[in-house]
Symmetry: C2
Subunit: 462 residues, 2 copies
């Protein structure tokens, strides 16, 4: 986040390298509660995207835990503290047995960077396999392995130690929903990449992937893919890093972690966490096996993180875990997530602009297309649709045409209905407009309630 | 910070890659206030080292500001927020005019990594000149430029794009207190490094240095050194990065920033901040010029930091700045710092083990030597001396023989006297022991009050 002292208004003060919502007329949010945010005029916004405010904005129990510990002690971990131990036990209890060592750090970026350091130290290899369109963080080492970023830098963006595997996207990728075994087919691509790399004398340190790709377009990899990839990567002497920064902490409902969707037989070697872990407090964690941690320790380099694992962060982390449990937010993610997906699927039947609805729990994506057959990304349309009326939604993916839902976990059925009704209204209006400007096969449905602004968007005048 | 779920006690739970104080019998601190920490038995410890708890542990105004904002809103900076703008204005007001753009991030490591990205983007150069023994953070890109770390990895530790300049240490370096112009001499070494690098076709992106080296041994560079280095680095197309993570925010007393000790004519191109900025809350900042920020923006890569610059962090940052001002902590740093240095200098006259006392404000180092002439580092002795009675002090530097003072800024004259009296007592006892075991020219002074443990330390049996 960037600010310029010479600016007079807060709008100007946010510098161009950071995108703000509603960039032309940004809103100034002054308070938030649960899944709602309020601007300076008291207007209420429904938040469909803030996966950081995981247990709800301004959660009272989280604040209480923070204050209680701040009043007592907030120091680095050169001293022992029970919070650290309790928190590590609670957190690892959500994970398979062999993931037993926690490194507490301050952000998803610090977590993924440390994961790479752990992987590279473990066997002395350097190369990393990453998925196309992946984003793993903003520090130098992660820009290197984030095609979502380095592709923007042109040909020189990709370093020689980085290998990009296709995203296991069964809607837009090479192997689609009609493929008999897309999981194996995508995993075989990773195998080929490994073989090619080894032929060139390179050695794989790690395969890294979000358990579900978020910026990459709300991609849910087919079950079995991670197991097969892990097998090939292990054979090559590398480790499997599951990046749960965006999707962890019960968002998928049925499980606490996204990678668990792949099946009980899959256990990553390293799991990285972030965003939701502290409900907005800057903290994160890397969990790994004793074997990998010991190899890291054996390097002789002490790892010290000033703020990581401080008693306040740990108290907040514990309060978040408690809230998830106490308020059955995983159950809520299943119930509301199913309902949201169901509503969106009904919209899909109704609106040809919706090419695909995919989701699990409160992680849902809607792939907008100009053409159902060719699946041409409907980028401008997605850009238009996210400008809902007092609802915060965003579009992402390589073509920025995927509507992205990842709301606070207290999102309700009513909230789901509200946002889908608005999308329906917008889509209906757009189809009408489409018919009136460039008549096609679209059916007339709903009421036309839009200003000429709509036409300008669709006709590219905006 | 690392934790292991299989451990039964908090002592075992802290993994080997993180050092704790009093490693053989670590203390468990449960609360802290001002410059004092308290263990689980209610024992009080004087904190001489915690520069993170800058305005004092558990500062009530900082907590109040945090709570007030947490109850309202804590979100990412995709929205505008006044706290961000106010804070950026207050922070940049402490800096020279041209340093006007703030990037808010979460840790000193994130700050230094971003500083490197800014520098590299600015002119497209890659190489970095760093000082010997420097430590700039724990992410991959910073281990690369931290000889304090990469030297432990053997010859392969240093990457080809990294150039190590001698630390401008006028006590142990090549040019010492008796040199007519040590500042120019050390800067000339940097010039030679640049020439050598250019001869090999390499291009300098940045020179990075702590304004005073902390882990490197509490080194205060001679005034004028930075100006000359900046001149050479600018000529080579690089920028000057002043790392203020350890030493900023008024610690030096006379100035708000350490680099200001060099003179009014010196302005770095990038300043990085950390530790004290949030009094323990995970936050940090990079400040740079409009020109450098614009070059970064022009890359087309959006910079987004989930937690950076959130309203809670900004509220805390503002409260810290207010406390420094309201409580005249800079004035206190001058007064108490001068007194501490004076007391330590008296000890120097008395104890030949003290080779050098150097300090400015509440940033003070005591270089312990076995031999005043040869300045042989007294490492074991320093290790012994930091184990004071209910006083937290540490030893650092390449030989771990420098006693390091960087206490909370509310440190008092009485605190200074207490710690120096204890050091006096220990040094006196050590000299006595020395005389009794390996008689030398030491003078008998003070009372001998030590157990046989002392002998074991000195004779290397421990």
């Amino acid at each position: 986040t960037v600010s310029d002292k010479h600016s007079q208004t807060s709008k100007d003060a946010i510098r161009p390298s950071c995108k703000v919502f509603f960039a032309k007329d940004p809103i100034k949010i002054v308070r938030a509660q649960g899944q709602y945010m309020y601007d300076e005029n008291g207007e209420k916004y429904l938040d469909c995207i803030n996966n950081v405010a995981h247990v709800g904005h301004s959660h009272p129990d989280v604040i209480k835990a923070a204050v209680k510990q701040m009043e007592l002690l907030n120091t680095n971990s050169r001293f022992l503290h029970d919070n650290l131990v309790q928190y590590a036990k609670r957190l690892t209890a959500t994970l398979p047995e062999k993931l037993s060592i926690c490194y507490f750090v301050n952000s998803g970026s610090e977590a993924n960077d440390l994961a790479l350091r752990l992987a590279r130290q473990y066997r002395g290899h350097q190369d990393v396999i990453t998925l196309d369109h992946a984003y793993h963080g903003h520090v130098s080492s992660l820009i290197d392995i984030s095609p979502y970023k380095f592709n923007q830098l042109g040909k020189e963006g990709k370093k020689e130690f980085v290998h990009v595997a296709p995203s296991p996207d069964i809607y837009r990728g090479e192997y689609r929903e009609d493929h008999p075994d897309a999981a194996s087919a995508y995993a075989d691509d990773v195998k080929k990449i490994i073989e090619e790399a080894e032929k060139n004398g390179r050695k794989i340190a790690a395969f890294i992937a979000e358990s579900m790709q978020s910026c990459g377009g709300q991609i849910i990899p087919p079950a079995g893919y991670f197991q097969k990839v892990a097998e090939y990567v292990h054979k090559a002497g590398g480790v499997f890093i599951a990046d749960e920064v965006q999707v962890g902490f019960g968002r998928v409902g049925k499980h606490f972690w996204g990678f668990q969707l792949q099946g009980k037989d899959f256990v990553p070697d390293i799991v990285t966490m972030g965003k939701p872990i502290g409900n907005g407090h800057p903290m994160s964690c890397v969990v790994t096996t004793r074997e990998i941690a010991e190899a890291f320790g054996a390097s002789g380099l002490e790892y010290f993180n000033t703020f990581g694992g401080n008693p306040v962060s740990c108290a907040i982390g514990l309060a978040v875990l408690n809230a998830i449990e106490k308020e059955d937010l995983q159950g809520n993610a299943i119930r509301v997530g199913n309902y949201l997906t169901e509503l969106l699927n009904k919209q899909k039947e109704k609106h040809p602009l919706i090419g695909d609805v995919r989701g699990i729990g409160l992680f849902v994506g809607v792939d907008l297309v100009k053409d159902q057959l060719r699946r041409t990304p409907a980028t401008a349309e997605a850009h238009y649709i996210v400008h809902l009326d007092r609802i915060l939604l965003s579009a992402d993916g390589p073509h920025r045409n995927i509507l992205k839902f990842k709301p606070p976990m207290c999102f309700t059925m009513e909230d789901a209905k509200l946002v889908v009704d608005q999308i329906d209204e917008l889509l209906t209006g757009m189809q009408l407009a489409q018919c009136q400007t460039t008549p096609k096969m679209w059916k007339h449905k709903g009421t036309f309630t839009f200003s000429t602004h709509l036409y300008r968007v669709l006709l590219g005048h905006n």
